[in-house]
């Protein structure tokens, strides 16, 4: 009946409007992140050039799949640095341009242009198209937000559950570790690590945030385990012959996950913001690469001259964080067979 559990969860989840909406939104965001070469790129999606059909946009999408770059050839002439794409497209008899026909790194003289037909969200201080940067930043921010919290969740749940369930020396060691990490100024720890790493990239950011943000999750998990460990149903499972792993995974974790899931989703927003700070200091995503955090930071500095620059990354971060939280809450409620349960203690 283990197989039957997932569909049951799904059936209950499906009834939750906000949850479904958030799930759809996040899937859409992920799609934006993956399809960014066809959504926002100087290169056309399809183009007939000198009698041949090229697919530079699509190739870009395929190349972003890990390890695919070895297999998929670049659309040769289009990828050459000196190639004049605009001219090629203009000459071409058949070309389909990306939705936002700019690269996120394309400089232009039109700096701080207000939103217009050409630049939907305007341009920044270096004349880069904000919409294009936003689309490309999605990938980085999602990777950091979701990746870091997935890692933090994993570490926090495993360590917290282990400490709470096993007790004794394990508990002491894990608890001290939690305190240690919590007392450490996380941001500087991250900085230290990033300086130490040769070529900092998104993956490093994910790991560093993930390996420091797990403490609240572990603490909560440990407390939940302490509460549930002595419960009668855990004893009942042992009486049935269940080993510690089974008791932990099948009986205790499902009951402890609800508050933990919510903490994890709140962490997603936090991770996105940490990444912003890091990138701003030049320790996160390498500078020219767009991320919502980088955009927000630079917009912040020009809030007087170009206030409109603040909104796109702000709204993007806000909406993403909101959707992740809603998703977390919906999953939590769906996991509780009681639906919205009420405290039954009188008073």
């Amino acid at each position: 009946m283990l197989q039957a559990r997932a569909p049951r969860l799904w059936r209950r989840f499906r009834r939750r409007r906000l949850g479904m909406l958030s799930l759809a939104g996040l899937v859409l965001l992920a799609a934006v992140a993956v399809l960014r070469p066809v959504l926002a790129s100087r290169l056309p999606i399809v183009c007939r050039y000198e009698g041949r059909l090229y697919f530079p946009g699509l190739v870009g999408v395929l190349r972003s799949v890990p390890f695919a770059s070895a297999v998929v050839e670049e659309s040769r002439p289009f990828s050459l640095p000196s190639f004049d794409v605009e001219k090629a497209v203009a000459d071409s008899s058949f070309a389909v341009r990306a939705l936002i026909p700019y690269d996120p790194l394309d400089y232009s003289s039109e700096v701080r242009a207000r939103p217009s037909r050409q630049h939907w969200l305007g341009t920044d201080d270096l004349g880069r198209d904000v919409a294009a940067r936003l689309v490309h930043g999605t990938a980085v921010s999602l990777k950091v937000g979701l990746g870091a919290m997935a890692l933090a969740g994993l570490v926090g749940i495993v360590l917290g559950a282990w400490a709470g369930y096993a007790g004794g020396i394990v508990d002491v060691v894990v608890s001290r570790l939690i305190e240690l990490v919590m007392c450490f100024p996380v941001f500087f720890l991250i900085l230290a690590v990033m300086v130490w790493v040769e070529e900092p990239g998104v993956t490093h950011v994910v790991f560093v945030i993930g390996l420091t943000a797990w403490t609240p999750i572990a603490r909560l998990m440990r407390a939940e385990m302490l509460r549930l460990r002595g419960s009668e149903f855990a004893v009942a499972a042992r009486a049935l012959g269940a080993g510690p792993v089974r008791v932990l995974v099948r009986h205790l974790l499902p009951n402890a996950m609800a508050p933990v899931a919510v903490t994890i989703t709140f962490g997603v927003g936090h991770a996105i913001l940490i990444e912003a700070g890091l990138s701003w200091l030049g320790f996160g995503v390498p500078p020219p690469a767009p991320s919502w955090g980088v955009m927000l930071r630079s917009a912040y500095d020009q809030i007087q001259s170009a206030p409109f620059l603040v909104y796109p990354p702000c709204v993007a971060i806000f909406v993403t964080v909101l959707m992740v939280n809603w998703l977390g809450e919906a999953v939590r409620d769906a996991a509780d067979p009681r639906g919205e349960s009420e405290n039954l203690v009188p008073g």
Binding site: R227, G230, S231, G339, E340, E342, L344, V345, P346, G347
Partner: protein, 351 residues
């Protein structure tokens, strides 16, 4: 306990509860009426799954939200000074104001209803702090005295223990102490003594009786144990599949049970030096999803079956469970008076 007299009463009329389940909407409580009077104890008896707990939770407005709701009827609480509230429709805030202070409840599963992370003493003290405005120290002392009143030895130390350190019967008594901490005018007790041995049970019964005569507390005592009701109740309602089938004063009910269900129930009460029953009432309580038409008891009714043998074939009808009277299948019997203070919902007995 301070001897402030209560004269609160609860009048329940035609209470109905709907629960959403996989099989659709079910009605585990379907038109139940009774009165809880000041200083009196009303017993609510019936087989497992007949809707006793759901009725009790409905009175407290503690049904699982979003899944179950009161779909009809009224629960009129009045305090004797002319103030009254219909709990079935009142705003949540209003109900919360009454809960704990005016109306308290003892839950069927004490271990699940006590909070595992607070000491028992703290939990009891919390109630009197909240409702009687006592200081922390006073409330704690009161908690200790309540614990010893419900028969827990070494109460001062026990108050500092956590629920898992209590035995099953002690948890049940801790729940009772918690319910009494707010000096409620009405106490709804769902199986308050199932885990208690006879001596402690007698002690609890004495305590509650004392409170009733002292403070005029009204009580609804929900249980499947008719033996206990014989000791504590002034009046008994027998429930079957979401309806009340018989209501009478305690003496009257035991001396003169009229509904075939009540008779069958009394026949299975185990007694000392008498081998345990006949194997119970044949068949089982129908689930709320598949209640039989007409009299809900007809598939298991011995009277209907016996009359079906005696009477003309045209008055009878063949069902899965044998030949029974047609009337029992076709007509829903209403609760009708058959004597002073005695009501029965059975077409055959009443006629």
């Amino acid at each position: 306990m301070s001897p402030n007299r209560h004269s609160a009463a609860l009048a329940v009329r035609d209470l109905r509860v709907e629960i959403r389940t996989r099989e659709g909407i079910v009605r585990p409580v379907d038109g139940v009426s009774f009165d809880i009077r000041p200083g009196r104890t009303l017993g609510l008896a019936g087989e497992s799954g007949c809707g006793k707990t759901v009725s009790a939770l409905a009175l407290m407005r503690l049904l699982p939200r979003g899944q179950a709701r009161i779909s009809g009827g009224s629960v009129l609480w009045s305090n004797g000074d002319g103030e009254s509230v219909n709990l079935a429709t009142a705003a949540e805030q209003e109900v919360r104001r009454l809960r704990g202070r005016r109306l308290a409840m003892i839950f069927q599963d004490p271990a699940a209803a006590l909070n595992p992370v607070f000491t028992v003493g703290e939990q009891i003290a919390e109630v009197s702090r909240l409702h009687l405005g006592l200081s922390h120290g006073k409330a704690m002392r009161r908690a200790v005295s309540l614990l010893s009143r419900v028969g827990i030895a070494d109460a001062a130390r026990r108050a500092r223990e956590y629920p898992h350190q209590f035995s099953g019967g002690m948890q049940q008594r801790a729940m009772l102490a918690m319910a009494l901490a707010g000096e409620p005018g009405i106490l709804i007790a769902d199986e308050p003594t199932t885990a208690l041995d006879v001596t402690v049970q007698a002690q609890i019964v004495d305590l509650l009786r004392g409170l009733q005569s002292e403070a005029g507390m009204g009580m609804l005592w929900v249980t499947h144990d008719l033996g206990v009701l014989a000791q504590v109740a002034d009046e008994i309602c027998v429930m079957y599949a979401g309806r009340i089938v018989e209501r009478a004063g305690t003496r009257e009910l035991f001396a003169n049970p009229l509904h075939p269900y009540t008779q069958a129930l009394l026949a299975c009460v185990p007694r000392l030096h008498r081998p345990a029953g006949t194997g119970g009432i044949p068949g089982s309580v129908p689930t709320p999803a598949e209640v039989p038409p007409g009299c809900r008891f007809h598939p298991r009714c011995a009277l209907s079956r016996r009359l079906a043998v005696e009477l003309d074939a045209e008055l009878c009808v063949n069902t899965q469970s044998g030949s029974v009277l047609r009337r029992c299948v076709d007509e829903v019997p209403a609760l009708r008076p058959v004597g002073a203070d005695h009501w029965v919902a059975c077409g055959e007995v009443a006629s």
